[in-house]
Amino acid sequence: MNQQLAGFAPTPVAARMENHGRSMVKIAMQSGQDIFARTGSMVAYEGFVQYEPNPPAVRQIAGQWITGEGTPLMKASGDGMLYLADYGADVVVINLNGEGLSVNGTNLLAFDTSLQWGVERVKGLAKFAGQGLWNVKLGGQGWVALTSRGAPIVVDCGSGEDETYVDPDALVAWSPNLKVKGKRSFKASSMIGRGSGEAYQMAFSGQGIVVVQPSEDSTDRLRIRG
């Protein structure tokens, strides 16, 4: 029985964060190198890992993000292997290595506490996006794990002659140096139920990348379940 399943055993550790299959991330934990992870995203762990919900650091940095349910992030520390997943969504692991990235709050799975990070409300759009569109800006030396519903696509923003417009529900991450603004494509006709279905977009301009997912389901499943 074991043999058939042996293929799914974890591979030897080669990096701080690695994909285990498409939709799970394996994090090599070490004391002193803590991780912020989405609350509820842990699916398994080995070793001595402790979890701290509502960590004060998050309260400080992401005060506005916190709702009555508590912070969306927990801190994990200790030694061992930590496995995270988000309801089968694809996981993308990135070693930032000094670069920066803005990530849609619901698409963030985990990141090193050693990163500089901040939370901001996406300008101009928060009123429209039902659950409030929060984005987390990350930078510095360390690793980040993102989720994407379906395999993501990375688009070079500079490649088109015009701005790049993105459906906010499909947006996963973007380069922080891009200029972002909201664009509403309301027309008179859309008021009478004849919209194109694309009521507003986010417009990106500048040099950088935008990551989108092939799904417009951006509900925060971790949050819904609590």
Binding site: A15, Q30, D79, E216
Partner: protein
């Protein structure tokens, strides 16, 4: 306007350009690697029967100059001029290949391309990158081949064994060679003559023993730079086996200009064939000094170890060393300075590998998710996303409302009504679609709910798709609601959309679908069926017969469809019952 080729695409050259004087440019790069790009002129049996048509750095043109090597220019790593008219009739195929010169593997290759330029205009481009390859050391990029007319095929096929495997592929006799385990030993053989000669030529074995450890090392060192030439020399070494002397000197400098004569001639056709005969002599030269072997081996390891970049880098750190300890027991002792998140150095070292696991950076991590290059009107980006290029032709597309995930350019999205009659029909049959029209200029990325997308190109033929499985289609297509009658269908009939004309329909399926050929006994669940071909003249013959599956206790609401049609028809079924 350059046409984009993907691996496997083929086209007549005459469709690309009316010219026959072509410039073929290859760009292939990888950090720290160099490539030998060559062109094999093959006969009808795809053999290199005439080695004068192996055009590479030592033989820069074919006898009548129909194939010429031009060197690096205009952003191309290597370029050729091919005059199709001038190619003699026995040459039926030109195969453009790239081989890694030294250690390395094709997966390290940065995005590159093979392009065809005619009359100063790029007419075709086949782009590739390392993700399409793995440990190969050679790759056939593209072929020109004669089938009635000259055609071009984007091949992108790798060869594990590197140049040897390629030669074997093209050279007939080679095959008989007693199985020399492909890559590793062969190059060694190649290396051998490099330093073996001195003993053979100059000194008796014993005297070799002593200097050996010192010598092989330097001798080896320069060589790794030029394994490709070595490989070529390997075969050569045989013939001059006795007159060994020249090779060693000549062997080291890679493309030694003086060498062509030595090199060029009987090289390829002969190459590996003599090797078997050669192998015996080799061991004495190489194997005897057995002891030195370990020394030279060491430097070689990376060379042929296939895992070039990482091997040295990772092995040490990652191997048994770091993780386990750090993981389990001695963290505090081992890594005192770590608490500070900012402390990069202690952080970096103990976990050196984990941290530096890859060449970091956002771009690197996301490399494999990059947008696929611009191609035709519809370009599949991955299984679940598709891009449509709305060009100057002004042909709009219709897409399901809300399926746009991203767009660039000036694209207008507008409501697309079905019209009065359409709404009546739509309401009555359930085959209505909430559509938007995308028009203008730019690129639109479409996706919906992680559904798998399948572009189906119609060229005058027709396909039936149930409306909820349509994601988008060219506005140029006509569609109508078809009614399928039969007993046992809830509501008395089943409706689908039939698309017809010239254009593309994007069909979405939940999960990986199965495409079945229509045979006399092809059945599908009415709830899982996604689409079926309705080649216009077979609309009736690929009729659908409905049958009720009356299991006891079964509600009978599942409707099985049976399909009939001429061979060549197919059905598409998804693993999901709506």
């Amino acid at each position: 306007m350059a046409r984009e080729f993907q691996r496997g695409h083929k086209a007549k050259i005459s469709d690309l350009t009316s010219g026959t004087d072509l410039y073929v440019g290859v760009q292939i790069n990888a950090p720290g690697l160099t490539f030998d790009i060559s062109c094999f002129g093959l006969d009808a049996n795809e053999q290199l029967s005439d080695d004068r048509y192996f055009v590479f750095f030592n033989q820069p043109k074919s006898p009548e100059e129909s194939i010429q090597l031009l060197g690096s220019q205009a952003g191309d790593t290597e370029s050729f001029r091919v005059t199709l008219d001038g190619i003699p009739p026995q040459i039926q195929k030109l195969s453009f290949t790239a081989t890694i010169d030294g250690a390395g593997q094709m997966s390290q290759v940065a995005p590159g391309y093979l392009r065809i330029v005619a009359g100063g205009e790029e007419v075709a481009r086949y782009a590739f990158d390392g993700s399409e390859f793995s440990t190969e050391r050679a790759v056939m990029l593209g072929d020109f081949y004669l089938k009635d007319v000259w055609r071009f095929a984007a091949v992108g096929q790798g060869f594990d064994g590197g140049l040897e495997a390629l030669l074997r592929n093209f050279g007939g006799e080679v095959a008989e060679e007693e199985q020399q385990p492909a890559a590793a030993p062969q190059p060694q053989g190649g290396a051998a003559p490099g330093f073996a000669p001195p003993p053979g030529g100059a000194a008796p074995a014993p005297s070799f023993g002593a200097p050996a450890p010192a010598e092989p090392a330097p001798a080896q060192a320069p060589q790794p730079a030029a394994p490709a030439p070595q490989a070529r020399q390997a075969p050569q070494a045989p013939q001059p086996a006795q007159g060994f002397a020249p090779p060693p000197g000549g062997a080291t400098p890679p493309p030694g200009p003086a060498q062509p004569d030595v090199h060029a001639q009987p090289t390829i056709a002969a190459p590996l064939a003599p090797a078997p005969g050669q192998t015996p002599p080799m061991p004495p030269g190489y194997g005897q000094p057995g002891q030195p072997a370990p020394a030279p081996q060491a430097p070689q390891q990376p060379q042929f170890g296939q895992a070039p970049g990482q091997a040295p880098g990772q092995a040490p750190g990652q191997a048994p060393g770091q993780m386990p300890p750090g993981y389990g027991q001695q963290p505090p002792a081992g890594f005192p300075g770590q608490q500070a998140p900012g402390a990069p150095s202690p952080y970096g070292q103990p976990q050196g590998v984990p941290q530096g696991g890859g060449p970091g950076g956002v771009a690197v991590a996301l490399q494999k998710y990059r947008e696929a290059p611009t191609g035709q009107r519809w370009t599949q980006q991955n299984e679940q996303m598709i891009r449509v290029d709305l060009g100057a032709d002004g042909q709009p597309i219709l897409a399901r409302q809300g399926s746009m995930v991203l767009y660039q350019g000036k694209v207008d999205f507008s409501y697309k009504g079905a019209g009065f009659a359409g709404r009546i029909v739509g309401n009555a049959t359930g085959q209505e679609m909430q559509l938007m029209r995308c028009s203008g200029r730019g690129q639109v990325f479409l996706a919906e709910n992680e559904a798998h997308l399948h572009p189906i190109e119609l060229q005058g033929d027709a396909i039936c798709v149930s409306a909820e499985n349509v994601l988008a289609y060219d506005e140029s297509l006509q569609h109508e609601v078809r009614r399928i009658e039969g007993h046992g269908i809830p509501g008395g009939a089943l409706f689908t959309m039939q698309f017809q004309g010239t254009g593309t329909v994007i069909v979405k399926t939940k999960g990986t679908p199965v495409v079945l050929p229509v045979t006399p006994t092809t059945f599908a669940d009415a709830n899982s069926i996604v689409a079926w071909s309705a080649a216009s003249q077979v609309i009736i013959s690929s009729q659908v017969r409905l049958r009720r599956q009356a299991f006891p206790g079964h509600s009978g609401e599942t409707v099985n469809l049976q399909f009939r049609g001429a061979p060549g028809n197919f059905i598409v079924v998804q693993p999901y019952e709506i």
